[in-house]
Symmetry: C2
């Protein structure tokens, strides 16, 4: 039950973008320096984030990435799903066909419920929330 580095690194990168978004597009070189995530790995992650409309890109010299929406309107769930696909404790949660070849097997609904709990929570927390909570810690 682990979120992969794609999701975790990507989320940290998005938070980094959010904090520094005033100064125009941020190149991945800079995000890489600040987050210590390799630039090439970030490129891979940002391909997904762009396709999912979490960020928009500015190509060429002085280009970089910008958030496509204000941090208040980006849920953590959006970012994680962009990078990892739908969260599912078990494959049977996504497919019609159940894990047990029995369409209403004993444990199927449990995993559906677990997914719902996680989805609801990650959908309730925005990038702005993360930043605010972080600042509150320092007080």
């Amino acid at each position: 039950m682990r979120v992969s580095t794609r999701g975790r690194y990507g989320l940290r990168a998005i938070v980094d973008l959010a904090i520094n978004q005033d100064s125009g597009p941020t190149p991945l070189r800079v995000v890489s320096e600040r987050t210590k995530i390799s630039e090439q790995y970030l490129e891979q992650l940002f391909t997904n984030l762009r396709k999912s409309k979490i960020v928009k890109s500015v190509r060429g010299a002085h280009g970089g990435y910008l958030l496509n929406n204000p941090p208040e309107d980006i849920a953590v769930k959006d970012v994680i799903e962009a990078l990892e696909g739908p969260l599912a404790p078990s494959d049977c949660v996504l497919n019609r066909v159940c894990c047990d070849t029995n369409s209403d097997c004993v444990t199927h609904n449990l995993w559906v419920d677990v997914k719902e709990k996680i989805d609801n929570y990650l959908n309730s927390v925005s990038i702005a929330d993360l930043i605010e909570r972080y600042h509150n810690l320092s007080n």
Copy 2:
């Protein structure tokens, strides 16, 4: 964010044991037949379940496994943790040292909260609950 087959298969095996526990110890051969999980893989899983006191074993001919407690008193969380160790969306949730080498990094508390949500839910559902919910579906 997936529960491995260890956890999912193990849970199904425990439910199978719970349903059939009246008739004395159940050998893994029989659990294997009913659940379609290979007997050798079940052996591996039941080693963990026994060490975690979820089941007790009766060795020798006519032996098998029994639940160590009534199904009402076994939480799904107990079974999953016995088979997979503590659930953690990120390593930093378990270690003192945070993912970001910064002891209060932006995303750390998020993963702590996710773990808490999952733990609380899986702790609130017992094996007896699973069976009851399953029977209700058939009505």
